[in-house]
Symmetry: C2
Subunit: 409 residues, 2 copies
């Protein structure tokens, strides 16, 4: 008998009929297994609650916001428990606090500090399906706190870790992780397996399937995560520790992120503390910087470039212009129409020449590379936005992505 | 500095604008006072949740139903706390469990067992308005439990008792307790004061303002309850312990309850245990019986009559027919078009002839009395439904209801 944690997102539980469908699927798994189900709020419920709060005040208190938002998942748990009982299954719902998720006090973006899932265990021991509200826990001050974006996935992975579950299944509207976006690359293939590190690079580089936060947690605690479709019965992609054979594949996936903007601050005096001043100003404006590149300095001056989401572009430029004058830089250059393309694969560690093959591929297509950044298992290039799809297709072809892994799967 | 508990019902907090209005009113009270606010779910929220549950299953588990319904009040608390903060007031929301309401385990109809409102006190001591979710508490098994009908009023009264508040203000869509229904009796007057016992008779006899459950609790703990309008600033009706002078008024109010049905079981053998058998069958069908009348027996047989809400009429008759045969009664007689009119007043204790004046008044109007029932401070008659309004007007006139009390007020 396996212990399985399943997580269903908001679109999978958007109405009573969809909840009944999920219940059928859970009941099937519960025949012969112990099952914990983590659920999100129904469909657009959270948006509706946020909208209500905005009607009341432009700047809702985070503690009260959590009190408000946590109701969304609670509603789903009760309804799913009812739906399971209707099918003859034993089931019991739990809020995040009841399930023993303890968090720090950073309301609306709380972090899990520990899990004491004794009530969940009790339910499982009694032969019940435990239905747990995702996205929420109890803070050190015994307040309801929510985990922020991707919080329900994280709840699933964290509960799986605490309960030593055999697998955490993440049900979503895609059927797994692909070698590239199938909308762009028609012969993109679903990956049977992908390592935590590869998934981390893919998550942070634009594959929307799974938040990097959950992957990091899964990696740390060794939780196998199975990303699969809510609507199909086929196996999806298993995110797991690195396995023999994975290194034989050089590139596991090609990812891209559009809607990026690039900003450069020119001829900055190259003194200690300058980078902190520059990025301190951006952080103060609550803008998340993605890629940062600084080249060697010449004559005591250097150029710094970075990318931000296009939505934050104007605010970032405004913040930067103040800093530019303050630190005695020459000025700010910006381009709000760039994209980032990346190749990812644990095999890069043991294969040389991967980056240069990437650059050559882009050159062959007449695509100019504006910025380059590398990690141990990924190479990313910033290019003009309009070339994004062309670049992804060309790279997918060059590295024959998915062909080797598919045969290994 | 007074400590005030205020309770606002669902229609007072039906949307963001109404919540902002309530916030202004609470903020005014909070200037110079400590204030605890108890709120219901917004408008039709609870109906919506019940409907969702019914889409899932015809017989939702009570424990899961409570998990579901408790979210309604929680949403209101968070929004009202935000609205208060927007006005510059300090405020903090609490679920029923957080506010320390402990209940028994009768899900969907739980009873309050004790209150440990230390978090509420802490908030008050910190100069905050405590906004508490009505209708809910934490059961002995640490489950969320709801209090059933009138549960939010009860939460207000119970918190006022536990905190030794100076008053519990119940805000509603009427501006107080009237000597009769103003829609029927144009010169009905608002009562400035009414005793707990009178209010109890009026609550159970059809005045919809306050549930008898809350009045009983208020009486037991001596909590003054002020019933007043959410929309006007005028004082409403204070429900309080009996005071000197109240007895001088014979009749404080005339109440009526329509949509009643009368059922008689004829020539029942007059043996011990027969009444238990008859009403046991009705209770098993989950029907609440209101008035019960049994006259002296003749030749070892007696007739029993009782009233039920008209909606339960058919089910009650069906349940009775089985019993009738079993106990050897002659049969069942029923009338689904009756109403009950009552006169209520603590002065009846010391004034004789009140009942006969009532009967004479009804006779003068040509209204036949079908059943009579009396308590220490009330007389009730069951009459043909179509005469209900006429009877109320005539009785209000005969006893000059409101005239003496209005001058005393």
């Amino acid at each position: 008998m396996a212990l399985i944690v399943q997580k269903y997102g908001g679109s999978s539980v958007a109405d009573a009929e969809k909840i009944a469908n999920v219940a059928r699927r859970v009941a099937d798994s519960a025949a012969g297994n112990q099952v914990v189900v983590v659920v999100s709020a129904m469909g657009k419920t959270t948006d509706g609650l946020v909208d209500l709060a905005r009607q009341i005040t432009p700047s809702p208190d985070p503690r009260e916001m959590d009190m408000l938002l946590a109701t969304g998942e609670q509603i789903t748990t009760a309804l799913l428990a009812m739906a399971l009982q209707r099918l003859g299954a034993k089931a019991r719902s739990f809020t995040g606090p009841q399930a023993g998720l303890r968090t720090n006090s950073a309301h609306t973006t709380a972090r899990i500090t520990r899990i004491e899932p004794w009530r969940v265990r009790q339910a499982l021991d009694a032969g019940e399906v435990a239905v747990v509200a995702g996205f929420q826990g109890l803070s050190e001050e015994d307040e309801i706190a929510t985990l922020g974006r991707g919080g329900s996935d994280l709840t699933g992975v964290a509960l799986a870790a605490a309960l030593k579950a055999d697998v955490c299944e993440i049900y979503t509207d895609v059927d797994g992780v692909y070698t590239a976006d199938p909308n762009i690359v028609p012969d993109a293939k679903k990956l049977d397996r992908v390592s935590y590190d590869e998934m981390l690079e893919m998550a942070s580089l634009g594959a929307k399937v799974l938040q990097s936060r959950s992957v990091e947690f899964a990696k740390k605690w060794g939780v196998p995560v199975h990303v699969r479709s809510s609507f199909k019965r086929d196996a999806g992609t298993l995110v797991t520790r690195e396995e023999r054979g994975m290194e034989e594949v050089v590139v596991t996936g090609v990812t891209h992120e559009r809607n990026q903007a690039k900003i450069s601050i020119l001829r900055v005096p190259d003194r200690p503390g300058i980078a902190a001043t520059v990025f301190g100003a951006i952080a103060e404006a609550n803008i998340v910087v993605d890629m940062i590149v600084q080249n060697i300095s010449r004559d005591g001056y250097t150029d710094m470039s970075f990318t931000v989401p296009r939505a934050d572009f104007q605010r970032a430029v405004t913040a930067l212009q103040g800093v530019s004058a303050k630190v005695g830089a020459q000025g700010v250059l910006s381009d709000e129409r760039v994209a980032k393309v990346s190749i990812v694969g644990v095999g890069m560690r043991s294969h040389s020449g991967v980056a240069s093959r990437m650059f050559a591929t882009l050159a062959r297509e007449g695509i100019n590379i504006q910025m380059i950044s590398t990690s141990e298992i990924a190479v990313s290039c910033v290019i003009e936005d309009k070339y994004a799809e062309l670049a992804v297709r060309a790279l997918h072809d060059t590295f024959e992505v998915g062909r080797a892994r598919a045969s290994a799967g």
